[in-house]
Symmetry: C2
Subunit: 304 residues, 2 copies
């Protein structure tokens, strides 16, 4: 039974801290599949896969290292954040039940609150309050806004840990389906265009279903970024998002320069783009040799 | 150590024979990843994966069933063929050496000649004559042409088995790198257009490197087919082929209707198309979750 954990940390520049986070994840049975560090977002995303128990251990160990080494009072990045270990999602792979990931979020969240003394908010499928299902609600006002309200506003009372914020901030721990994190660079320096395009495509303002988007500045000259989460890539895949962003940007006379994946994407999220370019309407994940092999191996393991 | 075997049989219509071929492949340790039957080509392609010894057994067993059940004297399909089991390639996966596949081709080929009494031609990396590296040379004149010359022309002397052709024909057994078999339907009933487009894109007439192509009729109304093998999809990927076919067809005022994969394709062959559609110039196989996991598992196994 396999689970993915994709913790996001508020450090995208200091190689020593990034290496310390990777080292903390090195629990036997857990595999580090990807490290994505972004200096503009000032953020690092690890992709870990393993069975529930060692994965819980690895996730907790990385949060401990982040809390020891990252000081939110001096952190400035373009991505919203509330903590050193900002968000720790558990994601079911294969036919692992979501309930396993909800239980992992509760167990790791409780331990973070108790042993590290950090406020923890349960989100996604693990949320105990409906408004906490979505991260933007938990992150409103970011670290600074949370610091000003956490002890006084009952809406900001954590699910675990103290109602008080130190330099390591708070942690959102949750369970969710696989998502695709995807950034698109637009060929303009006008941040207002990125923000308008983000508003045009995100679900919360009437755009594409299951899409979160923000417009942010980046250090690369001549471009701005639309940073997206595709929460249900089966419903709205990257190709649909790229087409919608291209159309919204074109209304401002702006074109897409390039895109980047943050972390990994499930093959099913990428195939629609390949299928469209190749005129392959019936392209299936099982037609990808490595995927067919992985599925056959998983079925074989499951039969024993 | 894993090997893929992708035998092609001259039966794409009779479900009982197709099921018998699948059943013959059911050797413990071997996984049947895909079955692709095409009634116009009158051909079925199985994709088998396993360790060398059980895979050799499965490949031989399918050839035996094909030889028992398929009569080439009554076979009419649009794809060139010389035998009931027309071609049996062994393909190295991961870091399996090509030499393992050459040895498999020799061993299975020798057994087919000896136990089944069929003429066998070694091809690809297993070829013993340079002109036999390429299948079109071995298949020239097809079954009928081979039947007329095999006992008299020394150029057609088999590597194993008798220099005589029965109803089951001959078998090309070989070793090769992974290829992509890919059919493109053009929106015209004019077979001359499909043939001209095939000539324009295939390597043998000055087109794209490592591409084989023929123009063939199909039963679906209003379309003709360009049937392609991409022998080195790293060098010429499906997107490059689709673009070249679209350009060549456009010169005749014809457009692509749709495409189909025959069997499976390695992820690296499909990513360029996804990358182009998504503006992702640096998309790598390791960014596909299932592939990253399969690679990590393979490395883990290799380390023990």
């Amino acid at each position: 039974m396999l689970v993915e954990c994709v913790p996001n940390f508020s450090e995208g520049r200091d190689l020593a801290t990034i290496a310390a986070l990777q080292a903390a994840a090195a629990v036997p049975g857990v595999r580090l599949l990807d490290t994505h560090s972004d200096p503009d977002h000032h953020r690092t995303v690890l992709t870990l896969v393993g069975p529930p128990d060692p994965l819980a251990e690895a996730a907790f160990a990385t949060v401990r290292v982040a809390a020891e080494r990252i000081d939110l009072r001096r952190h400035r990045g373009v991505h919203p954040r509330i903590g050193a270990a900002d968000v720790v999602p558990f994601v079911p792979l294969g036919d692992t039940p979501m309930a396993v990931c909800v239980a992992l979020a509760e167990r790791v969240g409780e331990r973070i609150g108790r042993e590290l003394g950090l406020p923890v908010y349960l989100y996604g499928e693990a949320a105990r309050r409906p408004e906490r299902r979505a991260l933007p609600h938990i992150r409103r006002g970011e670290y600074e806004g949370l610091a000003a309200t956490i002890g006084r506003d009952p809406d900001r009372a954590p699910d675990f840990g103290p109602a008080a914020l130190g330099p390591a901030g708070a942690v959102a721990v949750g369970a969710r389906r696989p998502l695709v994190a995807f950034n698109i660079l637009l060929g303009t320096e006008d941040l207002a265009v990125a923000r308008a395009v983000a508003r045009a495509v995100r679900a919360s303002s009437g755009g594409l279903p299951a899409v979160q988007a923000i417009g942010v500045p980046v250090s690369r000259p001549g471009v701005v970024q639309v940073s997206l989460n595709l929460l249900d890539p089966q419903q709205t895949d990257p190709l649909a998002v790229v087409r919608a962003v291209a159309a919204a940007a074109a209304r401002h006379g702006v074109a897409i320069v390039e895109s980047e994946l943050v972390g990994l994407a499930p093959v099913a999220a990428l195939l629609p783009a390949a299928a469209a370019a190749l005129h392959l309407p019936r392209l299936q994940p099982r037609q990808v040799l490595e995927v067919a092999w992985a599925l056959a191996a998983a079925e074989h393991d499951g039969a024993h």
